[in-house]
Every structure is written in C-alpha cells, then in structure tokens.
Amino acid sequence: MTKKENVTLFKEIDPPHELFSMVLTRVALARQNAARFRLVIFGTIAFSSALMLVPTLQYVASEFKISGFYDYASLFLDSFSHGYWQELLYSLAASLPSIALLLLAIISGALVWSLWHTNRNARIVFTRFALPA
C-alpha cells in the first residue's frame, strides 16, 4: 500500500450517544410490525385449517366406508392362514380413498405449518424488546 492510500483527510465523527439504541429500537419495532402482520396471516390460515379439519375427517371416514377398505382389511387379517395375503394386500391398497387422504394430509400439514409460524411470530410480537448488554 502506498503512502498516499493511507492519507486521511477527514476523521470519523463520533455519533450521538443514543444513536445506537435508536437504531436498534427502530429495527425492533419494524420487526414487531412485520411479525404482527405475519401473525394475522398465519393465524387466519391456522384457524381456517382447524375449521376444515373436522369435515375433512368426516369425509375421510365416509370414504373409507364406501371404498370397502374395512371389508378388505378384515379379509386380509384372515388371509394369513390361507396363504393368499399378497393378493389381498394389493386390493387393500387399491381400496384406500387416496383423494380423501391427500386432502387430509394437505389440511393437516397446513395446520401444523401455520401453527408453527403463528407461535414463532407471536413470540416476536409479545416479547418486550431489550437492548443487548
């Protein structure tokens, strides 16, 4: 590095003492505002998912009844002694109400995911900000 590159024409100025805390407070407030907005969004998704869970479970139960899954299941349990359990296993799998189960998985997944984010954002919103030591 040449001598010229070390020339300092201007010294740095000391900032006001309270500026550091003002910056952190401003960032913390912005963080809380953003978390408040996300809390509303994820809270709504969690609430909606929870509401949809009950009719979805009822739908899954009725689909299981209609598909004949229970009949295949009891036949399957009996079939071990007769040796044709493999064929019944395929029939059992084919009788699964896949669309209903997929719907249940999506709604359950949405509920768990949104609850996790709701909890995370709620902690940010309701935690009192403290300046680092």
Binding site: T8, L9, I13, L19, V23, V27, A30, P132
Partner: protein
C-alpha cells in the same frame, strides 16, 4: 480475533439477535460520519434508515458480490441522496459547471494532492469548510476514499458508477479542494 461481518450475518440469520447489534456497533461511526458530511443535520435519520434497510435486505446480501461494508455504504449513500433530493439541495447542474471548468483540464497530475492538502491545512476545520463547498458527487468519493479508506473498486460498487468515473471525480474533487485552498490563502484567511 473477532467474528467477521459475514459470520455475524450468518449468526443473525440463524437466530442470534445480538449478532445484528454487533454489526451496527461496528459500523455505526463510519455510517454516521459519512451521513453527517453528506446531509448535515439529518444524519441521524439517514443512519437509522440505512440500518433499517440493511436489516430488511440482509437475506439478499451476497458476500461474493461485495464486502459487507461496501454494501452497507452503498445503502447509506443512496439513503443520503434520497434525503438530499427531498431537501432539493441536490442539483445535477452543479456537476456540469464543474466538468466545464477549463482550469481542471490543465492540471497535470493530482496524485500528490492529498499530501499537499494535509500539509497546507493545519486546521481540520479548514478542510471541513472547504469540503462543504464541493458538489455531492465529489464529496462522496473523497469521503469514501479518505475517511472510510475504501478502494476505487469498492467506491465504484457503492455509487454504481464505472471505476474511471470514480477516479475522475476523485481527481477533480481534489483539484477543486486545492483551488479553494489557493483562494483562501490569496484572501489571507
């Protein structure tokens, strides 16, 4: 050996809240000094807005593009320009007058200017007073070079201008400072 800026950012993004506070503490003086000499009274607002924008965009920061300080000063510089525009004290036509000055073109080599200026100005207040007479484009380049000790490449990234433009503004800024010094001594102040 302390943690690097990039390590602090990684720590913050994985949940360590104190890491961001350390980043602010480390760079607060540099950003404030730059803001104070760029916008004056509104320096505190510029500093707060700068770090707020840094926080909002921290996930987008890519250390392979630029060092953190370069990225930070780029945000600080743009925030300062926004404040100057709001105050309507940022006039582009001033640059055209500077570039149109024939005296500048006659100077051979301004490489010795920084040492000369330091040697001729015993009082830092003189440099500050003369510095305020410069247009914003020259001021920011000289600030980043001689206060923040940044290279021309880093300044080029901060102000989004080609490196030759940075070098040109650097030279013209120093030449203007020297002209002001000459005028000052001629006037006996």
């Amino acid at each position: 050996m302390g943690r690097t800026d990039e390590e602090l950012i990684a720590e913050y993004l994985t949940g360590n809240e104190d890491a961001f506070a350390l980043l602010v503490q480390r760079h607060l003086k540099s950003v404030y000094s730059f803001a104070a000499r760029s916008v004056g009274d509104e320096a505190e607002d510029v500093v707060q807005d700068t770090f707020l924008k840094v926080w909002k965009n921290l996930k987008k920061y890519d250390s392979s593009n630029a060092k953190f300080k370069t990225w930070l000063m780029h945000i600080a510089r743009n925030t300062a320009i926004d404040y100057l525009r709001k105050k309507k004290s940022f006039v582009f036509s001033d640059i055209e007058r500077e570039y149109g000055d024939a005296e500048i073109l006659n100077v051979v080599d301004p490489e010795d200017l920084p040492d000369e200026i330091v040697a001729r100005t015993h009082d830092a207040l003189y440099v500050e007073a003369l510095f305020k007479k410069l247009t914003p484009e020259y001021r920011e380049v000289l600030l980043l070079r001689y206060m923040n000790q940044m290279t021309f490449e880093e300044i080029s990234k901060i102000i989004d201008e080609p490196i030759n433009t940075v070098r040109s503004r650097h030279h013209r800024g120093l030449i203007k400072l020297r002209q002001y010094l000459d005028e000052m001594h001629q006037n006996g102040t």
